[in-house]
């Protein structure tokens, strides 16, 4: 039975010419039979992690191992075979082919793998019965409800009976009635010999999971009093991609805000003089730092938690 191990996973890409790092040094270990939730707000890297697990995205660093397979080093036909037989993906927007019936949508990955027509049809019927859509096999996606479409998508992901199921926001387009059936189905998929990884921001899914991984940075030390910190020229206050929990006010000296460029190097965005503040967006919205802050001369800063900072700046942040 294959276990999933993710070590030091780092994904970097170019965003508007800047280097973005949605996943930085991410670790995860999941034993077979578990359902794991990757939970967090939009942009925190959940889908990116799924893309790497599905061997669709090549990370900048780190490794993903599923059983004996090192997913991050797969190439060519080995990659195609892995996508075909080892992993099944349930996409957020269902992504069913509108011209195909429910049965044909489930057959598609089987036929692409060279499975004969009759065999593929029987398998599709079997899977659609399993997900409770025996009476909807010839219906096209446009004739199905959101929940039914998602169940077809789950059946499609199961076509090759893969040991790893990835689901990206599986409840995002469903109302509360439809959600129930999909949740039950997802839970039933996690059994010995199979791992289910679900990326979601939907907290209703948490009770289903064997384990919940919070992808959104959390406020580091909770509430604490403002703290004065000093930096020497060239010393870094925080790095781009770091989780952020503090806002800084410049008391003395100067801090430059720089952003790493996709091709290497960096661009100076601004220079913060005494009386100005920076770094408020990451703790406020649960994002990673979008730039690096570095002292250019001997500098004194006061670090605030977001709550303290808001209380002290009610005129702007009230």
């Amino acid at each position: 039975m294959a276990d999933l191990t993710v070590s030091g996973l780092t994904v970097e890409y170019s965003s508007g010419g800047y280097a973005a790092r949605p996943v930085d040094n991410f670790d995860l270990a999941v034993p077979s039979g578990q359902l794991v939730l990757l939970r967090g707000a939009s942009g925190c890297g959940k889908t990116t992690v799924l893309s790497v697990l599905a061997s669709i995205l090549t990370p900048a660093g780190g490794t993903v191992r599923f059983g004996d397979v090192e997913v991050t080093s797969l190439k060519g036909q080995a990659k195609t075979d892995y996508r075909r037989h080892t992993v099944g993906v349930v996409f957020q927007a269902f992504n069913l082919v509108p011209s195909l019936s429910a049965s044909e949508n489930v057959q598609a990955p089987l036929r692409a793998a060279g499975v004969r027509g009759n065999t593929a049809r029987r398998r599709a019927e079997e899977l659609l019965e399993d997900v409770g859509l025996a009476d909807r096999m010839v219906h096209r996606p446009g004739d199905l409800s959101g929940g039914q479409q998602q169940r077809v998508a789950i059946a499609r992901a199961l076509a090759h009976d893969p040991p790893l199921i990835l689901a990206d926001e599986p409840t995002a387009h469903l109302d509360y009635i439809q959600v129930e059936g999909v949740l039950r189905l997802l839970r039933s998929l996690a059994r010995p010999g199979r791992i289910v990884v679900v990326a979601t921001h939907d907290e209703r899914l948490s009770p289903l999971a064997d384990r919940v991984v919070a992808m959104t940075p959390t406020a580091g030390g909770g509430e604490r009093p403002p703290e004065t910190v000093t930096f020497q020229p060239g010393q870094v206050v925080f790095e781009q991609g770091d989780e952020g929990d503090l806002v800084y006010v410049v008391d003395d000296g100067e801090v430059e805000i720089v952003r790493q460029l996709a091709g290497g190097g960096e661009e100076t965005l601004s220079r913060m003089a005494p009386g100005t503040y920076f770094g408020e967006l990451a703790p406020l919205f649960g994002l990673r730092r979008s730039a690096t802050a570095r002292a250019t001369k001997p500098t004194t800063l006061t670090a605030y938690t977001i709550r303290t900072f808001r209380e002290r700046n009610k005129d702007v942040w009230g």
Binding site: T47, L50, S51, A54, I56, L57, T80, D81, Y82, R83, R84, H85, G88, V89, F91, Q92, A93, F94, N95, V97, P98, S99, L100, E104, Q107, A108, P109, R111, A112, A113, G117, R156, A159, D168, E169, A172
Partner: protein
């Protein structure tokens, strides 16, 4: 992937139908042009065969019986008939004239021949001319038996019709006794353009040269050579237009199905399978259009002023061209389809 491709065609059937009709029109034009080309080649062969000669003797140094303006004495035929290897020799007068009708002048080819000799027309109705003032006309002229016509200012009576005796882009031919033709062309002088023989003369009088049937056909084809080359060139352009129509439809389809392709790739479909599906769509579109074009060309054929030859070979060739055009057109979208990032499948849609 063929199932996906077929279903997609069904799904977008209106667009498929429009593309088939547009491509079929282009293919039908191509087929009609090929028919015109074949018709021109065929009428040349037919008119030369109608004369039924083995050799055509013309004045030395001239280009051929249909294009020369150099006449030879008609009585040379007696001398030629006596040559070893010749079983029969007859003079022919070949020229271009006009037929005066109430609607205006109509260009006609005229062949004057010795009644009972070589060069007699094949009769579709009526009979062959027996006396001066009688003609046999190609049925394209629409003349009735017994009708009196004005050829180059001389009156003649239609006593018979012939089918498929045209040359120079379907120009209809009048057959008349050689004396009438000499009156029209040479003011009654006993001259001829050529002496045609049954049997192959072993020697030729010094003032003449013998031409084989192939040489005569080449001579007759020469004036239409540029026209035929133009037809063939336009044909290739039409194939490219058809390829353009199909390519644009396939490309549009790829643009609309980016996410489908991303999902297929994310679920392990190979690039070859994706291309196979696209090629199948393009070939189906192209071949269906070719079949529709074949029917369309048959419907349009009678509207042409000269006989087109729509042969099974031409239709088969069009099908092969359609296959090639379809494959070529699908290549246009290949790079786009293969380059689709499977990561596109993720995201909120």
């Amino acid at each position: 992937m063929w199932l996906v491709s077929l279903r997609d065609l069904q799904w977008r059937r209106r667009r498929f139908l429009i593309a088939v009709v547009a491509t079929a029109l282009v293919f039908a034009m191509s087929l009609l042009m090929a028919g015109a080309d074949a018709g021109l080649t065929s009428e040349t062969r037919r008119i030369v065969d109608v004369v039924g000669a083995d050799r055509w003797l013309v004045a030395k140094g001239t280009s051929g019986p249909f294009t020369t303006v150099t006449a030879i004495p008609a009585e040379t035929s007696s001398q030629v008939a006596a040559l070893p290897g010749v079983r029969r020799a007859d003079p022919l007068v070949i020229f271009h004239s006009t037929l005066r009708r109430t609607s205006g002048l109509k260009d006609v080819n005229v062949i004057g021949y010795q009644p009972g000799g070589l060069g007699a027309p094949p009769i579709a109705s009526g009979r062959r001319p027996l006396a001066d003032g009688e003609v046999v006309a190609d049925i394209l002229l629409g003349l009735k038996l017994g009708q009196t016509i004005d050829v180059g200012g001389h009156a003649a009576r239609v006593v018979g019709t012939a089918d498929g005796v045209t040359y120079y882009f379907g120009g209809p031919t009048l057959f008349m006794p050689i004396t009438d033709a000499q009156n029209l062309a040479f003011r009654g002088l006993p001259l001829a353009m050529t002496i045609v023989t049954k049997g192959v003369p072993q020697t030729v009088p010094p003032s003449l040269q013998a031409m084989t049937l192939a040489q005569v056909r080449t001579d007759l084809d020469r004036p239409s050579k540029n026209g035929k080359a133009t037809i063939q060139f336009l044909n290739i352009l039409l194939w490219l237009v058809a390829a353009g129509i199909i390519a644009s439809i396939v490309y549009l389809s790829i643009l609309e199905r980016q996410r489908d392709f991303a999902v297929f790739k994310a679920t392990g479909a190979s690039s070859a399978a994706l291309y196979g599906g696209l090629a199948l769509q393009a070939v189906l579109l192209s071949v269906t259009a070719a079949l529709v074009a074949a029917g369309l060309a048959h419907l349009l054929q009678p509207g042409f002023p000269f006989a087109l030859e729509l042969t099974a070979v031409a239709v088969l060739r069009l099908l092969v061209v359609a296959l090639a055009v379809g494959l070529l057109a699908s290549l246009v979208g290949l790079r786009r389809a293969v380059a689709v990032d499977p990561a596109l499948a993720f995201g909120g849609g």
